[in-house]
C-alpha cells in the first residue's frame, strides 16, 4: 500500500502550504511549515521502502548478496531533514516570540510595517 503513502505525503505538503496561506496566526504559520516538512519526510521514507526488507544495519560478515533490506540513503536523508525541520521550528518560534514583544500581536494582518 505504498501508493497510499505517496498520496498522504502530498496531501500533507499541500495541507501545510494551505495552512501557511490561509491562517493569520503566526504560530499556525509555523505549524504549517512543520506539516509540509513532515509530508516531505514521509515521501522520502516511502521512496526508500522495500516491502519485506529488513533494517539496513549489517556488519561486514553479515552482508551477502541475498540480503534484502530497505534503501538506507533515504533514511539518512530523512534524519537530516528532521533535524532541519526542528531548526526551522525553533528559529521561527523564537522570531514569533520577539515579534509578539515588539508588535504586541501575532496576527499576520497587523505585522505589515514593510510594504509597498
Amino acid at each position: 500500500m505504498i501508493m497510499f503513502n505517496y498520496i498522504a505525503s502530498f496531501f500533507l505538503i499541500v495541507l501545510g502550504f494551505y495552512t501557511i496561506v490561509t491562517k493569520t496566526n503566526l504560530v499556525k504559520t509555523v505549524i504549517g511549515l512543520s506539516i509540509a516538512d513532515y509530508g516531505v519526510n514521509l515521501l522520502i521514507i516511502s521512496i526508500g521502502f522495500n516491502p519485506g526488507g529488513t533494517a539496513p544495519i549489517f556488519t561486514w560478515g553479515e552482508l551477502n548478496p541475498a540480503s534484502f533490506f530497505v534503501d538506507p540513503i533515504p533514511q539518512a536523508l530523512t534524519l537530516t531533514s528532521i533535524v532541519i525541520g526542528a531548526c526551522v521550528t525553533a528559529m521561527s518560534l523564537s522570531l514569533v516570540m520577539k515579534l509578539r514583544e515588539q508588535y504586541g500581536t501575532i496576527d499576520t494582518r497587523e505585522i505589515r510595517r514593510l510594504r509597498g
Partner: protein, 643 residues
C-alpha cells in the same frame, strides 16, 4: 589514485569558511582574534579559488573530488562529490570576492553592535553555505547548503532586531524561504526515486532520456525552490524587506551572493540536469520571468522612499537581466548574462556599502530626510556615483559593457530565431535601463546633493576601513568596465563553454565514456563553442538598436499623453512650504528638492499602476506565501503541458 595538490582546493575553500565560523564561536570574545580569524578565513577561501583559475579557467580542466576518495563503482556514484567546472569556479570567485570585501567593511561597520562574534559566525556560515552550494556536485548536498545559507541569512536579517521591521522581514523570509527549501527537497527526492542517485553528473546522464511526469514535477519544484533563492518575481518583496532591515554588509551578501546562488541553481537545473534549454518553451519561461522581474522591480524601485529598499528592488531588476540573458541559450547570451551577474555583484555591493555608510553616519536611510551629504562625505559620494553610473550603464563603467552585451545577445537571438517577441524583450531591457538611471538621479539628488538638513551639520566621513572596502568594489567596477575583452576571454567565456559541454561534466565525474554509454546517441557531444563578435562594430545593428530605442520612447510618450480627464483627482493639499506660490526666508534655505519631487509627472501619469502595485505588495506574509504557491502551481502546469 594520485591527485594534484590543487584538486583539494575546492574543499579547502569551503572548509576555511566553516572552520572560521567554529573558531569564532570558541575565541570570538577576544576582539583582535575574532577579526583575524574572519579575515584569514575569507582571504584563504578567495586565495584557494584564485589558485584554481589557471587549471580550470585557462586549461579547461574539471575537478571532480570524491570525499574520502570513494570513486564511483559499477557506474554508480556511491560517495559525496565536489565538482568544479568553469561555471562553478566563476560563481565561486564572485562569492569569495564579495565575502572578502564585505568582511573588510564589517570590521568598522559593526563595531558599535552587540554580540559581534555571533555576527561573524553567521557571516562565515552564510559564506560557507553559498560556497558549498556552487562547488557541490551532489543534489542533496546542494539542499543542505541551501538550508545553511537560508538560516544564516534569516538570522542575519534579524541581527539588528531593534531596527524597525527587522524581525518582520526575517520571519517573512523564513516562511517563504522554507517553502522554497521544502520544494527543493521534494524535487530532489523525486529525482532520487527515478534515478537512485543524488550525484549531479549521474543524474544529468540519466534524467534527459527518461523524462516522465514525476521528473517534470520534480523540475518544477526545484525550479521554484531556486527561484525563491534568486528572489525573482514573485519573490521580490522578501528581498526588499530583508535588504532594508539587514546590516549593509549583509545586504551585499544577500544581493551579490544569495541571488547568484539561485541563478546558479537554475542554470545547473535547466542546462545540465534536465538539458531542456534547447526548447523554445523553456527559453520562453526564463526570458519571460526575467523580463517581468526586470520591469516590475524597476518600477517598484521608483516608488520607494527608503535608500536600501530602493536598492533592493534594483538588485532584483538587474537579476532579471541575468536571467533573461541566461534564458536565451546562446553562447553569447550566457557569456553576457554571467558578465552582468559579476558586475551586479560589484556595483550592487558598492551601492549597498555606500547606503550603509550613510546609515552609519546619519542613522537613517529615509530619502525624504537626507540631503546634501556630498559636502560632508565626499569619498562616499564619489564612490556611490561610480556604483550609480555602473548600474545605469554609463560607458566607461562595467554596467555599460555587460548591458550592451545583453542587448546585443537578445537582439541577435531575435534575428536568429525570427521571433518578434525578443525585440519586445530588447525594448523592455532598454526602458528598464532608462528607468534605472532615472531612479539613481533621484537617489543622488535626495541623498548627496541639494540642501544639507540642519541635523546633519556634524556628519563626518566614514572611517578608512569602510572607504577601503568601497574603494575595492569601485576599482573592480572600473577595471572590469575598461577591459571587457579580458573579462570575457578569461572568465565568462570558459564558463559559458562549460555550460554547453555537459558531456565533459558528466565524464569528468563518472569516468570517460560514461555519458555516451548511458545516453547513447542522445549524448551531448563535447563541442567547441565559438563566440562570434555579435556585430558590436556593425553600424547596421547600432542603427536598428537606435530605431528600437526610438520606438520605445514613442510608446512611452504616447502612453503618457493618454490622460483620462474624468479620472483626474484633485491635487493633494500641500504640506510643505515649497509647494506654495510664494515662499522664502530660512524655510527656503533648508528646503530640499526631494526625490519625490523629481519625475512627479511620470508617476502621476502612471498613478494607476503605482497604486495597484503598492496595494499588491501588502506586506502580509500570507499573500507572499500565496504568490509562491501560485507560482509553483503555474510552473508545474506549464512544464507538464510543454514536456
Amino acid at each position: 589514485m594520485s591527485t594534484a595538490l590543487y584538486q583539494h582546493f575546492p574543499i579547502f575553500a569551503i572548509m576555511a569558511l566553516f572552520l572560521g565560523a567554529f573558531l569564532i564561536v570558541l575565541f570570538g570574545n577576544i576582539k583582535p582574534l575574532r577579526h583575524a580569524i574572519a579575515l584569514l578565513a575569507v582571504t584563504a577561501s578567495l586565495g584557494f579559488l584564485i589558485a584554481l583559475v589557471k587549471p580550470v579557467m585557462l586549461n579547461g580542466e574539471i575537478i571532480a573530488y570524491w570525499m574520502g576518495a570513494r570513486a564511483p563503482a559499477g557506474g554508480y556514484a556511491i560517495g559525496i562529490a565536489l565538482e568544479v567546472d568553469a561555471l562553478s569556479l566563476f560563481f565561486g570567485l564572485l562569492i569569495a570576492t564579495a565575502v572578502f570585501v564585505s568582511c573588510v567593511y564589517s570590521i568598522q561597520y559593526m563595531r558599535h553592535d552587540d554580540n559581534v562574534s555571533q555576527y561573524y559566525t553567521l557571516f562565515l556560515m552564510l559564506a560557507g553555505g553559498v560556497m558549498g552550494l556552487v562547488l557541490s556536485g551532489d543534489l542533496f548536498n546542494m539542499f543542505i547548503m541551501v538550508e545553511i545559507l537560508t538560516f544564516a541569512a534569516v538570522a542575519l536579517t534579524a541581527f539588528r532586531n531593534t531596527v524597525n521591521g527587522a524581525l518582520e522581514a526575517a520571519f517573512k523570509y523564513l516562511v517563504v524561504g522554507c517553502m522554497g527549501s521544502t520544494c527543493i527537497l521534494a524535487g530532489t527526492i523525486m529525482l532520487y526515486a527515478q534515478a537512485h542517485t543524488l550525484n549531479f553528473a549521474q543524474l544529468s546522464a540519466f534524467i534527459p532520456g527518461n523524462m516522465n511526469t514525476a521528473t517534470v514535477v520534480a523540475f518544477a519544484l526545484l525550479y521554484i525552490g531556486f527561484s525563491t533563492k534568486a528572489f525573482i518575481v514573485p519573490f521580490h518583496p522578501l528581498a526588499a524587506d530583508a535588504h532594508g532591515a539587514a546590516p549593509a554588509s549583509i545586504s551585499v551578501l544577500i544581493s551579490g551572493v544569495l541571488t547568484k546562488s539561485g541563478i546558479y541553481g537554475i542554470i545547473r537545473l535547466s542546462y545540465f540536469l534536465f538539458q531542456t534549454m534547447e526548447l523554445g518553451t523553456m527559453q520562453f519561461l526564463l526570458v519571460f520571468m526575467g523580463s517581468v522581474s526586470m520591469f516590475v522591480c524597476v518600477t517598484m524601485a521608483l516608488a520607494q522612499h527608503d535608500f536600501k529598499r530602493l536598492l533592493a528592488f534594483h538588485s532584483i531588476s538587474q537579476i532579471g537581466y541575468v536571467l533573461t540573458a541566461v534564458g536565451l541559450c546562446t553562447a553569447m547570451g550566457i557569456s553576457s548574462g554571467l558578465y552582468h551577474a559579476m558586475n551586479h555583484t560589484l556595483f550592487k555591493g558598492l551601492l549597498f556599502l555606500a547606503a550603509g555608510a550613510v546609515l552609519h553616519e546619519t542613522g537613517t536611510t529615509d530619502l525624504g530626510k537626507l540631503g546634501g551629504l556630498s559636502k560632508k562625505m565626499p569619498w562616499t559620494t564619489a564612490l556611490f556615483l561610480v556604483g550609480a553610473f555602473s548600474i545605469s550603464g554609463i560607458p566607461p563603467f562595467n554596467g555599460f559593457a555587460s548591458k550592451w552585451m545583453v542587448y546585443q545577445s537578445i537582439y541577435q537571438k531575435a534575428v536568429e530565431s525570427g521571433n518578434i517577441g525578443f525585440l519586445f524583450v530588447t525594448i523592455i531591457a532598454l526602458v528598464t535601463s532608462v528607468l534605472t538611471l532615472a531612479s539613481f538621479v533621484k537617489v543622488s539628488q535626495s541623498v548627496f546633493f541639494g540642501q544639507l538638513p540642519k541635523e546633519y551639520e556634524n556628519v563626518k566621513e566614514v572611517p578608512w576601513g569602510m572607504r577601503l572596502a568601497m574603494g575595492l568594489f569601485a576599482v573592480l567596477c572600473i577595471v572590469t568596465g575598461l577591459f571587457p575583452n579580458a573579462v570575457t576571454t578569461y572568465l565568462t567565456q570558459p564558463a559559458a563553454a562549460a555550460v554547453f559541454n555537459v558531456a565533459n561534466y558528466i565524464n569528468a565525474m563518472m569516468g570517460s565514456g560514461y555519458a555516451e554509454s548511458v545516453m547513447g546517441a542522445a549524448a551531448p557531444a563535447a563541442q567547441a563553442v565559438t563566440f562570434v563578435e555579435v556585430g558590436v562594430w556593425q553600424p547596421v545593428s547600432w542603427l536598428l538598436i537606435l530605431i528600437i530605442a526610438l520606438l520605445a520612447i514613442t510608446i512611452v510618450a504616447i502612453a503618457g499623453q493618454y490622460d483620462r480627464v474624468s479620472e483626474k483627482a484633485p491635487a493633494p493639499a500641500p504640506v510643505d512650504g515649497k509647494y506654495d506660490l510664494f515662499f522664502g526666508g530660512e524655510q527656503s534655505v533648508y528646503s530640499q528638492v526631494g526625490g519625490e519631487d523629481l519625475f512627479w509627472g511620470f508617476k502621476h501619469n502612471w498613478r494607476g499602476y503605482f497604486s495597484f502595485m503598492h496595494e499588491l505588495h501588502s506586506g502580509i506574509v500570507n499573500d507572499y506565501a500565496l504568490w509562491a504557491v501560485v507560482a509553483l502551481a503555474l510552473t508545474t502546469l506549464y512544464m507538464l503541458i510543454v514536456f
